[in-house]
């Protein structure tokens, strides 16, 4: 079991396609991560901080509507609705841009890792003004930080305004803080719990309810507002020192650096190494990965204090990563993007699709396949198990999409007999080659390839 280009493109990239060659070797996969990010430039997604003025306007408009007299209410309401519409369109164009990147990129491993870490640090836009902003959070906090140390990624994601709002941190106030004495708000331990359970040590990690509580107290002061995005509010911070996993932080004037320090320490914890290593192996290789593979990645992570490039290199150099039988089922977004790439549709064409087509062709099918874009049901992100994705009703939608969408996206549909070979090479089974050739129509023949286990799994 060792490197081969088709496996590399399917398992660690965004799929095969007639317009982009697969990676030449393992080094090429890694080098792609440090190459210029041409996709981000070609298909732009706004950074979160650049959206702040619009969010302020939205919030202002919400207030104006609330305050409006009966005569003026209708007008203010219409203006708010127009803003909401424009936010929805921005989100649709961000989805189009993301698909376009997956379709065009020669460095698919980067796009896959961005999605992996965006899921690890899941946020959902919870307030009305933030509802469309998750892609911009990914662009700002995740995308630039996937090749450094895990602790820097952690520090970019956890105190990000989107995360602070999603996990209720921005309103959490230390019980002994000045803000608590003046107002009615108090401590909220949601973010602290998820940082330990999901982002760092993992649910089997060596922490207790007391660590959750102490970390929640240490996190007080992390806040966000529309004027400046993230800000640190000493008046909300719990006075005194906190002890997390046996180490004491703070004690003097509340400082953001104490919070950064606890995040660095959590990132370097052996339980975190194990948790991250396992998640990488589960996401890329198998729902139930080889222990040796997990150990190998965890060792590389620990030896480098959480260097992500070293961890990816460990993943890619291990024989278990190149197991020939594909284990993982493509998640809905991955499936759609890989299908479009295989069909030879140009990214620019994808990015130019009208919002209506993005809605009908991507957003709604993904919902029916069980993956509402940027809205997983909880902060643990999307499930990895094949059984979750291949339910009868989700598969029905994959089939429906495979029959109907390709002719719309690629009017010049390929010959199904060539399509199966070009897309899957030697992986195509005899049954699939037969079915692709025996189908009644070109569209049905193409759908055979897209719905085959060889394409659904990677």
């Amino acid at each position: 079991m060792s490197f081969d280009p088709t496996t590399a493109a399917l398992r660690f990239g965004t799929g095969t396609g007639p317009l982009v060659p697969p990676p030449a070797d393992t080094q090429a996969l890694l080098d792609g991560l440090n190459a210029r990010d041409t996709m981000a430039r070609r298909f732009e997604i706004a950074l979160f901080n650049d959206l702040l003025p619009e969010m302020r306007d939205y919030r202002g408009q919400q207030r104006r509507r609330q305050m409006a007299s009966d005569v003026k209410r209708q007008g203010e309401d219409d203006r708010l609705k127009a803003m909401r519409r424009s936010n929805r369109q921005a989100q649709l164009s961000a989805l189009g841009a993301t698909v376009a990147r997956w379709v065009d990129t020669p460095h698919g491993f980067r796009e896959r890792l961005v999605a992996f870490w965006a899921d690890h640090f899941t946020v959902v836009g919870k307030l009305p003004a933030l509802r469309h902003a998750a892609p911009s959070y990914v662009e700002e906090a995740i995308r630039p930080n996937i090749t450094g140390k895990f602790e820097d990624l952690l520090i970019a994601a956890v105190p990000h305004p989107m995360m602070l709002v999603y996990l209720d941190q921005f309103q959490s106030v230390g019980p002994g803080s000045r803000a608590a004495k003046e107002g009615e708000r108090g401590l909220n331990e949601n973010l602290a719990r998820e940082v330990l359970e999901l982002h760092t040590l993992g649910v089997d990690g060596s922490y207790t309810q007391n660590d959750v509580r102490q970390l929640a107290e240490l996190f007080t002061g992390l806040s966000a507002r529309y004027r400046d995005g993230f800000f640190f509010a000493p008046s909300q911070a719990e006075p005194g020192a906190e002890t997390v996993l046996g180490k004491t932080y703070g004690g003097g004037r509340p400082r953001l650096s104490d919070i950064h320090q606890v995040l660095r320490d959590l990132a370097r914890h052996p339980d975190t190494a194990r948790h991250i290593a396992r998640k990488l192996a589960v996401h890329f290789v198998s729902d139930d990965p080889d222990t040796a593979l997990v150990d190998h990645i965890a060792a590389a992570y620990s030896a480098t204090d959480g260097d992500l490039m070293a961890s990816y290199a460990a993943l890619l150099e291990h024989p278990a990563a190149w197991e020939t039988i594909p284990q993982k089922v493509r998640q809905p977004f991955d499936f759609l993007a890989a299908a479009i790439r295989a069909l030879g549709v140009d990214g620019k064409r994808v990015a130019r699709l009208s919002p209506q087509v993005v809605l009908r062709g991507f957003v709604r099918p993904m919902i029916a396949m069980g993956q509402t874009w940027h809205q997983p049901s909880g902060p643990d992100g999307w499930p990895e198990q094949a059984e979750y994705w291949l339910t009868p009703q989700a598969l029905a939608t994959r089939i429906e999409w495979s029959m109907k969408a390709p002719p719309v996206l690629q009017p010049d549909l390929p010959d199904p007999r060539q399509f199966v070979k070009a897309t899957l090479g030697e992986r195509a089974s005899e049954a699939l080659i037969f079915a692709a050739g025996a189908a009644e129509t070109r569209a049905a023949g193409v759908a055979m390839t897209l719905i085959s286990p060889e394409f659904q799994r990677r």
């Binding site: 209720d168 309103q171 959490s172 106030v173 019980p175 608590a180 009615e184 708000r185 108090g186 401590l187 909220n188 331990e189 949601n190 719990r193 359970e197 649910v203 089997d204 207790t208 309810q209 089922v329 919902i367 029916a368 069980g370 049901s377 909880g378 643990d380 499930p383 094949a386 059984e387 979750y388 291949l390 339910t391 009868p392 009703q393 989700a394 598969l395 029905a396 939608t397 089939i399 429906e400 029959m403 109907k404 089974s429 005899e430 049954a431 699939l432 037969f434 079915a435 025996a438 189908a439 009644e440 049905a444 759908a447 055979m448 719905i451 085959s452 286990p453 659904q456 799994r457």
Partner: protein, 393 residues
């Protein structure tokens, strides 16, 4: 899965004209092994049992809650002089009066202390004890229950909606469908696709189920009434139609209970969905409602003390809702632990006095005639059902 493969798609060897293979007609199914119906609703996000079934008669309760209104003087419906039902469920009061609505209070799963939604839900649906570990058991308790009954078909148990129902997961084939899904394949394309997917057990099994269910349910989907109204009502109608047909156990989820902020407002939407769905089931089931038991359960309760943002955080003990004609009268069951400082679990949560599984086990024993040993051994390993009140009709 094996059953579905044998039931339809008997394709010729590779090379023969699979496209020309005639469609086989569906085999008529044997009747279900029993006539009573069980509906399990998983309330995801941790419902605040103290807000839904408010112990307003407890002298300590009011001191814990600040912005959250309490009791019949503040919009709730009195149940028995001690508990009051949240105003968001007041449309269920006629059921209470008829003895078709009840609650178990101060209940929980064996899950303790880490208070993670995901682990809490996994444990609730796995139905195991906490000591067995979370990763060991991958199947759900409803699936294990069905394994104990002879003559169960894939249609006997139905998971409805788009999220996975782990409570039904396991080796015994069950059905799942979401009313939104449709399938448009010609017979020829369908047969070829069966050929393409057959070597992958998961994909092939899902494919065959999809074909079967899409055909069986064409009629339901063609009913214009089923397609009207909000999605959760469509789902409830769809569930009722399955229960009127071959299905005896239906499971679905209601999300949105994680009320960390402004609970006085945010709990109303999930409460409305819950009451709508129960009333829709009742309406559409007609006479069958009389032999139906609905059990709505959540992964854990929420903190007794309201938090600093008008909400409540993850707790331990909570409440469970039961409805249906199979219920033997409207009561709030369970031993009340009290809400004084010393009464709370770890000084913060409602102390559980009963295992939510003991109620589910008792219901299955009564509804399906299951042996107590089976329930305490195979379905809920290690459970002791002693002390659960007789709540069935």
């Amino acid at each position: 899965m094996a059953k579905l493969l044998s039931r339809r798609f008997v394709l010729g060897a590779l090379g023969c004209s699979a496209a020309a293979a005639p469609m086989l007609t569906p085999v008529t199914l044997a009747a279900a092994p029993w006539d009573t119906r069980l509906v399990v609703i998983i309330l995801r996000g941790a419902m605040d049992g103290l807000d839904v079934v408010q112990p307003y008669g407890d002298r300590d309760f009011a001191s814990w809650r600040n912005t959250l209104a309490i009791g019949p003087d503040n919009g709730a419906q009195d149940l028995d002089g001690f508990f009051a039902l949240h105003g968001g469920l007041s449309s269920l009061m006629p059921l209470w009066t008829k003895g078709e609505l009840g609650f178990a209070h101060a209940v929980s799963t064996p899950y303790r202390d880490k208070r993670s939604h995901f682990d809490g839900q996994d444990l609730l649906e796995a139905g195991t004890g906490f000591d067995t570990g979370l990763t060991g058991v991958r199947d759900g308790w409803l699936n294990r229950m069905l394994q104990a009954v002879p003559g169960v078909q894939a249609e006997t148990a139905f998971a409805i909606g788009q999220g996975e129902m782990r409570v039904l997961r396991g080796p015994l084939p069950t059905s799942s469908w979401s009313p939104e899904a449709q399938l448009g394949l010609t017979p020829a394309a369908r047969d070829l696709m069966a050929l393409v997917t057959r070597n992958d057990p998961l994909l092939g099994g899902a494919f065959n189920s999809a074909i079967d269910i899409a055909q069986d349910l064409q009629e339901t989907l063609a009913d214009p009434e089923t397609r009207q109204g909000p999605a959760h009502q469509t789902l409830a109608r769809f569930a009722a139609d399955r229960l009127l047909d071959e299905t005896r156990v239906a499971a679905f989820s209601i999300n949105g209970w994680d009320t960390h902020n402004a609970q006085a407002r945010t709990i109303n939407a999930p409460l409305e969905r819950l009451s709508d769905m129960i009333l829709t089931l009742k309406d559409r089931l007609g006479d069958v409602w009389g032999k139906t038991m609905v059990m709505a359960m959540t992964e854990f309760g929420r903190t007794v003390h309201e938090n600093g943002t008008g909400g409540t955080d993850h707790g331990t003990g909570g409440a469970m809702l039961m409805a249906g004609g199979a219920l033997g009268g409207g009561r709030v069951y369970g031993a009340w632990p009290g809400l004084g400082h010393g009464d709370l679990y770890k000084g913060r949560d409602l102390m559980p006095t009963a295992d939510v599984r003991a109620y589910a086990g008792t219901a299955m024993k009564g509804l399906f005639g299951l042996n107590r040993d089976v329930i305490e051994g195979a379905v809920f390993p290690g459970l002791d059902m002693t002390g659960v009140p007789q709540f069935l009709a």
